[in-house]
Amino acid sequence: MEVPEHLTARVVAPGEAPLVHGYDVQADLSAHYGFSDLVFLSLTGELPEGHAGRAFEVLLMFAAPVSVAEAPSHAAALARLCSAKPSSVAAVAAIGLAEQARHRVEELAPLIEWLRADREGPPALAGGDSPTARLQAMLRACGAPVDERDAQLPLAAAIVAGLWDLGLREAWQLEAAFVVARWPLAQAEAMSNTPGALGTYPIRLPSFDLRGTPREP
């Protein structure tokens, strides 16, 4: 039986002058594009054109802030407090963000169906507020077309709608965009903690009702 003798690469041509989807990273992309353009290229196979590059960057920025109240940052911070090494903290943050992104995209399934139907009918979600309005203002400022119906969406959904309009239609693309945007902030937040300073951690947040255990006074 013949077995392959090579690993197949389709995105990154390795070597001293690596290519990403055919473009020379060092001589071409680094001279003419920004990092978010490289992310866009990685996820879609093509460089952003016109307003799309700046719009994608705006969407990533709006997606980026991940609070320590959110599971990925919370777990990574606790790992750091437990004196886990930085690479382990990074792994916890990455696993948490991947799970958060998966969960978010799954929960937004009604939104994605609505987008797939060209936004026909009422929006699948409601709750548009100031952050969504600010996102739409920023997208307009960079020349991106903005669908007024998205104003009624909560921010996370509006971001997904924006990514959808830029051509990120597969779940893995949407999830990857969130992970890329958020990971540096989750890691930084976690690493801002002092290893071993477990006295600073609110162990009762949230509380556990441990059935069969006498309640503490």
Binding site: A79, C82, I95, R102, P195, L198, P206, F208, L210
Partner: protein, 277 residues
Amino acid sequence: MSLDHPVIVTDLGAATHGDNLVRGLSVRDDLFGRETRWSLLSRFVQGPDLDRDDAALLDDVLVAIVAPDPRIWPLKVGWIIGAYGDWWAAGAAVQAMLAECRMGPWACAAAYETATALAALRGDDATDFEKRAVAWIRDQWDVGTVVWGFGVAGGAGRARDERMDLIDAAARRHGRDQHRHYRASLDAAAAIQAATGRAPNMALAVASLALDLGLTRAQFEALMYQVVEPQVLGNAYESARLRSPALRELPLGYVRYVGASHRRSPAALRSDGGAGG
């Protein structure tokens, strides 16, 4: 251009026609019906041959030290990640954080050094051993050395590690309580606690049993992960089952921000003509 074809040499495992090999032994002919989980694990990490009584000892140790309270910090990490519904990811996160983490299997493995030192200190002459052990540990503490295997977490409500009694019962049940490292560790620990007030923890007891089984430090750490893994899995599984929204995101009122104050970027200031503030 011809390439050097990389070859990795290992006898860990091999699939053959109708059988599998573990370190050259046939699952079908050599291991099935004879091997236990612990002997198989030891074989995987190139550890000593563990018989059924060794395995029974490790089973007793596993149960003796089980501490599945979700508030235990590494287990809490599993709860937080597991809140999205996937216990595999939650378990992976806990396993990732335990690498060289100063609690859990790594800390137990660190106690291996303490147990080794205490047995060496006793040597073949137990004369004044307890006194020498107290002097030894004071010397370590005087220069700031952490002596793993001593100290009990949990504040004033937990003056001793309650698991020590169960581990001792397991050691006696399986005839290990007089073995070299275990005896030296426990005798030294009693004297050290009496002299200094610092109680031993289960890591010292388990590490000394591991030494008497013939495990190296690295092998012991790997097997210790298997000892704690049931409670990691249990908590991850439970969290994935319950999918707590509170663990996915706490109300922002519970966050106290102590970072940089609000400030405007140089670009924003330039675009305002410097008039912003």
